[in-house]
Symmetry: D2
Subunit: 359 residues, 4 copies
């Protein structure tokens, strides 16, 4: 089977560039502009971001999500200050210690339930004040939506913000897929971030139709004081900045972010519905965004992966992750659902045969 015939439900980053975004890149490719963000394209994109996240917001574009995270965290935490994050969070598990390296400091994993942490869980991890012997608690970092595809309700975010602020801590959000959460909740982007106490945010673009680009949003310039230097030092300052900026402006134009995210979410919902009830597949958590986490009978895995690219999320527990994107089509979903049913049917047949043979 040709690689091009494979289905891709591995991640939203297997998708390409949304046509409106690519067109924006093409339009910006005219003439010369100053580098490093001192250009009209970047100015305009930042204005669009402020219209979305608040006029007091400071916005810096970066190349990728890990870059946005380390610069955002570096702007608010020093080396002797600790960042509390979910034990399954991207910054904890999937950035190869880039945060520890850049901060020169400590991340502390907090027990999570399908990706979410609560004020109580953070409180449990804070422990007692040990003075200089322990890194000083400074940041709570959550992922919205979580790595398990669950969505914090606004009041849950607000509660964490309040908890943080009462302790002179700061709330950071890794919003690599923030658009999917806002689409799922049918809110604006700011209604689940800068409006309700989120101090620093990584706002993702790459997974939602950009060629590549993320934004750090500081709710207030006080948090952003050193961010420009830190972005440069973190190797995240683009010289031809205009080409990241116009991608973001495209994403904010006519709510492309919502159109893309809502579509991706809908494709995941369609897949859940299309699969329906199959004995050997159990969904471990509700499908709230563009991801499904089915627990599969092990015999399903090989036949499915032969024709569809996806990751095992937890091999031991036999949990897979299926993820849709802005460019997943209903036909893709239906083909995958049909494949799943086909494998299930064969499985049943095999069991019957086996049952017959064994009887």
């Amino acid at each position: 089977m040709a690689s091009s015939d494979l289905l891709y439900f591995a991640s939203d980053n297997t998708s390409g560039i949304h046509p409106e975004v690519l067109a924006a890149i093409g339009r910006a490719n005219a003439g010369f502009v100053k580098p490093y963000g001192e250009d009209a394209y970047t100015e305009s994109a930042i204005a669009a971001m402020r219209a979305e996240f608040g006029e007091r917001a400071e916005v810096l574009f970066t190349f990728n999500g890990t870059g946005a995270n380390v610069v955002g965290l570096g702007a608010i935490a020093r080396s002797f200050e600790a960042v509390y994050c979910a034990d399954c969070s991207h910054i904890w598990s999937d950035e190869c210690a880039a945060p520890e390296k850049f901060l020169g400091g400590k991340l502390i994993p907090v027990p999570s339930a399908y990706g979410k942490i609560s004020p109580e869980a953070v409180a449990g991890s804070l422990g007692e004040d040990r003075g200089v012997h322990h890194a000083a608690p400074k940041v709570i970092s959550i992922t919205q939506p979580t790595e398990w595809g669950t969505v914090y309700r606004p009041e849950e975010v607000q509660a964490l913000a309040d908890f943080a602020h009462e302790r002179d801590m700061v709330l950071h959000v890794d919003g690599a897929r923030l658009s999917n959460a806002a689409a799922a909740l049918n809110t604006s982007l700011s209604a689940i971030s800068t409006d309700i106490g989120v101090d620093v945010l990584s706002f993702g673009g790459t997974k939602n139709g950009l060629m590549g680009g993320e934004a750090i949003v500081f709710s207030d310039s006080a948090f952003a004081q050193h961010a420009g230097y830190l972005r440069k030092q973190a190797t995240q300052l683009a010289s031809k900045m205009r080409f990241i900026a116009v991608q973001f402006e495209a994403l904010l134009t006519d709510e492309l972010w919502r159109r893309n995210a809502a579509h991706a979410n809908a494709m995941a919902a369609r897949l859940a519905v299309s699969i329906g009830e199959i004995d050997e597949i159990e969904f471990t958590c509700p499908v709230e965004i563009n991801a499904l986490f089915p627990r599969l009978e092990k015999s399903f895995i090989a036949p499915l992966q032969e024709r569809c690219v996806f990751y095992l999320w937890d091999e031991k527990a036999s949990i897979a992750r299926w993820m849709t994107s802005f460019s997943t089509t209903p036909a893709d979903v239906d083909a995958f659902a049909e494949l799943i049913h086909e494998v299930a049917r064969k499985n049943v047949a095999a069991s019957s045969v086996s049952a017959l043979t064994n009887s």
Copy 2:
């Protein structure tokens, strides 16, 4: 009550210098010698360490335990490699992110049972191989004896060493109180470290009678290749090295390390026996070395701390830590035991009054 009348059961680092150690410092204070360890005193101390830990061992002296840990770990792990350690370990909780800072990398806390981690627990934390996205597993670090005063049996250490080596990982031991473990097990120091697969060891002196000094012991020079530079870069190279070296030589002379540790252990055992059975005090784990971890009824804490310095180990759980040292006397122990019984009697009396009043 004068401060000098207080009892100290807070930590073995509240003690001073053992007379044999102070005498050794005095003897070494004659004339000039080359700095930074290029002197006969240091040479002799290293020879004594090799007699203890094996002729292939490489030994570097440092100022303190955190210094020994970060240099030892830095010699074996690069920034993208992870160190797996107990979730209550000193390197995880009590070194203000010095390891993360110096390594530029990641520590991963492993669930522990009264301070101990098992191969199974490490295996559970290792998770699946995520390639470059996750820091590569490189080091297992255990504390012997643990922060809870429990002692790994040699076969437990060996099992962890085997587990590590099978995975091309390295076993590091934070042995800030290794002498107390060896005294408790009645073994040599090497029998619980370099003889059974421990690759890198922090061997503590400060808590066992030195004025100040720790040693890093590499079981083989291959691990120590960069250690000299790293010690310097970690700010842990003493110019007047002779005065650390002679402390270690004194510690190894006539097994002062064992005499001190055995005494400290015995004082803890005496305290446990002297306390006996008191309803409001429950020992949370066996007393194996020089530390006790009693769960106290909350009403006990204030009256005890008025006359004895000790820490609450887990305030929420009302668990204290009582620790003895080489210089704790039987009289100190008996005075503390008497104080505890006194508080217990008053407590009973108060309860009776309260019961009468309430009835």
Copy 3:
């Protein structure tokens, strides 16, 4: 005057995307592929790079030049090892201490002559061996072409490589504009890098027509052992890697790198010729690539900057940098030359008036 009417001779990064590169991005925007470089586009681009730099080469793409530099250097130097570089080099002066941050170590500036360093100059900076007290010499890093637009001859690079290798050091080249050097020397890319002892190379794309992308080229996989992890940890691993990869493949197709660089070089030469001899302008070093470094009479600066964007390279010495790119047109050059002559004429006139007035 409208901003769009300004001339841009500030830097080659004020240019946009070469049409062949943009077209390649568009072509790659079809369907799904695996992320992080596990795709056929990346495989093909790496093969093209190996055809250029040698079959033993290891190639990793990054977002930008600082990223390529820190990952390349991090792969070959540890925190206690020193990198010797020109005192005007980009890694020393223009990366906001990103190399020191990522390496956790030391860069040592070597006196340079119009950007070049020699074995003698490095030898002078090496000083005597101070053992662990001084960071151990490990890397010589040169910029080819230099920040002053001068070009190392192959034999000069070879001499530095020999000098390095004799001392068990490694030669690193920051080749952000390597194409311009190869075009100037009329050689292949490897003839001035991997063929003659360069061990690690940052090969630039952004300044030569890409939207954004750089490559790290290791002459041998031995140097690249940890590079994958380091790229991730340095925040330089792109998820939608195909879009960087295809830019590089476009750059290597039909020697677009040479066509672009040769054009940029030619435009700089045309500018030099068009200016001709003007008393108040002195070129401080030969025009070898796409940059000119004129020492200007101070009265020239404001009128020129009113209509042309360029930087002062050394304000005190009144030296400007004029830089052309693949997209600079002969008309741009002629307009700028005409502007310069116009300012010169006014200047002469003003002097005459002033002379008359003063006489």
Copy 4:
């Protein structure tokens, strides 16, 4: 010749412990006290330090000079901020990149004249403001007395302080031998530091009679805000702090610091006088403290080093460093002077013979 018969003019850190200091350690070795500086000895030593350096001063003790330097610098500079220091300074050349490692940032060497830098030299190194591309100038660090044994006059320090403060920068002094400077200038310690604009100071003890210990002095608590955490993270927090504290109290008692330093200085002066005029020896800079930097005819070096331990400061230039300490005796000096004259005489004789032979 037995090693014990060697003369030591290598460094003041070849000396031992002053008897008053050792006695203080002995006196402090009674009973238990709280660790980590929460004890009466430390309180008292800090009070003594404040009496010396000003009541607003914040004082933290560390193990060694590199530790004091990195913590002091870390308290005032962030990773993207640069430290300007003499190109021969200890932090630049002799700390194995510990400052770069701990700061995660950049030191910039400034041309010096026999160890001194001037505001003009710093200004020359500052260059133009390059925004986020260049590490932001934040600290000027000088060594007083310098590594060449020269002494900044108070007005020179003041001028650097003014220069720094005008630019919102901070003046740091590495005062590993500050006592020798104060003794040479016949001033108090504060008169050449905290009284005249020095913001952060490493005050040395080890080279002036302590067993081991340095102090960081912040002129104002504003600079010390994070210093406690940073000291811990830098592995420089001693658990048995009392034994460093009492050394400092002894050093400040009856001006032991001055007695020791004045003696060491006097011994260096005596050596200079005793040598007198020898054709083959030229002193490269004035003997202001306890160090001499003679340029020796190469034939002198081996015979001298056979019986006296000293370092070559600059091997190529044939410059040695001869250093005295608090424990250098007049007899030591006279023996060394006699040795030098003896070598000189033999040298002359050999020349004569050679001259005769050649004639």
